[in-house]
């Protein structure tokens, strides 16, 4: 959509894209909105989109039988949500639920996948940016795993010399 171009151009995620590549993206973009409780994506469903969150809060959840849905991470304004559309089998691994009124820009992943295959330069630029996001999320997740505030175990890894 034409009206989305100025917004997309300024977003840090898309900074540096060549104008023709930006056009490709703009061509696959649309405005979306989710009410509190609505799901942006659901585990097991086909992954054909990703989102640029503009307002609101989204919970990344995993459903555990006895525990119910467990929120493992929350995302908000400015965050990019969804990368399973990039790699086979193109299937969501988690749920993403709007915790409050959420407005976002949705990108047609299926369409973009095709364009990446056609134009490898474009594909590389897109992949570079997604890799950066994935790396950051992975690092944060690793620190989350450390459970740094919890009760410390008395032993360290390895024995003292």
């Amino acid at each position: 959509m034409e009206t989305l171009r100025p917004i997309l151009k300024e977003h840090p995620f898309l900074k540096g894209f060549k104008p023709q590549h930006l056009d490709l993206i703009v061509g696959c973009a649309s405005n979306v909105r989710f009410d509190p409780g609505q799901f942006l994506l659901r585990e097991g469903e086909e992954a054909n989109q990703f989102f640029m969150l503009r307002q609101g809060k989204v919970a990344l959840e995993i459903y555990g039988a006895e525990r119910g849905p467990i929120v493992i991470s929350t995302l908000g304004e400015g965050d990019i949500l969804g990368w399973s559309w990039l790699i086979s089998p193109y299937q969501w691994r988690f749920d993403a639920r709007a915790m409050e009124l959420t407005r976002a820009i949705a990108f047609d992943g299926k369409c973009l996948r095709g364009k990446c295959e056609e134009d490898h330069d474009f594909g590389y630029e897109l992949l570079k940016r997604f890799t950066a996001i994935i790396v950051k999320r992975l690092e944060a997740t690793r620190v989350q795993l450390l459970d740094i505030y919890g009760q410390h175990p008395q032993e360290r890894n390895g024995t003292p010399r």
């Binding site: 908000g76 304004e77 944060a140 620190v143 989350q144 450390l146 459970d147 740094i148 505030y149 009760q151």
Partner: protein, 287 residues
């Protein structure tokens, strides 16, 4: 290596008889979370004030059990009552947790230097707290709030393990009216509708001017290390970032040698350090 001796934060301590605990009576004892508690203390000998600077600590002695260094977590603009918030992690703090109003604790201090609230005047202030790290930062926040107009944006980024580990709920609510507050937990529980993720994920939400800001960070060393990195990526230089270090302490006055961190004694050259002055040391292991 930059000289650590030059410091603009002069330690303040009454150093006559610093080795003798003064008895202080517990006025109130409050359970904050399953392992964290707050004690409000008043001098047994009629001392009406305990002046201190935010960031300083006392050596607290439980009769017959032992002594540990604990940051002061009260309001420096209201020194009539001495407040400490701490986790019960060892024999002394566990004994402290079972103290009831009327019982007595030994106090030596205040020791150490303080948060650079003076440096931060006229600038944005970013306060990052991890877990119990909010307790030593609370006095700085109180001091800032008492002179709110002197500061630009004031932003509190606070991370805890789970929602039931969050401290100072009521105050967090009150603070939201006067400063920007973002809270997150590592693991969500129950009906938590707030942020989930490590405290560094809150940094992108904080809109501060990195060229005109000061950051104060307190929490586990790992948390501080990652937080410093995140702030640096936002454009905040190391000489604008302050952290609070912790080491084994026995005397509190720079004599027993236990709290050494490179050339510094954490009890008197710290516990607050401007990050550029210790960046090299901090990156090394087992120092």
């Amino acid at each position: 290596m930059v000289s650590i001796r030059k410091r603009e934060m002069e330690p303040r301590a009454n150093l006559t008889d610093p080795m003798f605990p003064i008895p202080y009576r517990v006025e109130r004892a409050r359970r904050e979370t399953y392992d964290t508690f707050t004690l409000e203390l008043k001098g047994c000998n009629g001392e009406d004030e305990f002046p201190f600077a935010p960031g300083q600590f006392n050596m607290l002695y439980v009769f017959g059990v032992g002594e540990v260094p604990i940051s002061i977590s009260g309001d420096p603009t209201r020194p009539q009552i001495l407040i400490h918030t701490t986790r019960a992690v060892g024999p002394v703090t566990q004994a402290m947790r079972s103290l009831r109003p009327g019982e007595v604790l030994g106090v030596r201090g205040p020791f150490g230097n303080h948060w650079p609230t003076g440096e931060a005047e006229g600038k944005d202030v970013v306060i990052m707290a991890g877990g119990i790290g909010l307790a030593p930062l609370r006095p700085a926040l109180y001091q800032i709030l008492a002179q709110r107009k002197k500061f630009g944006k004031v932003i509190l980024l606070y991370g805890a393990r789970t929602p039931s580990d969050l401290l100072f709920h009521k105050e967090l609510q009150k603070w939201r009216a006067r400063v920007e507050v973002h809270v997150t937990v590592d693991h969500a529980q129950g009906a938590w509708e707030g942020n989930v993720g490590v405290v560094t994920t809150l940094v992108p939400k904080a809109a501060f001017d990195p060229l005109q800001a000061v950051a104060m960070i307190c929490g586990p060393e790992v948390m501080m290390r990652f937080s410093v990195r995140e702030l640096k990526e936002r454009g905040l230089d190391f000489d604008k970032i302050y952290i609070s270090m912790e080491r084994n302490m026995k005397c509190g006055i720079g004599l027993c040698g236990h709290c050494q961190f490179g050339p510094t004694f954490i009890c008197k050259d710290g516990p607050v350090f401007r990050f550029d002055r210790i960046a090299d040391l901090f990156a090394k292991r087992e120092i």
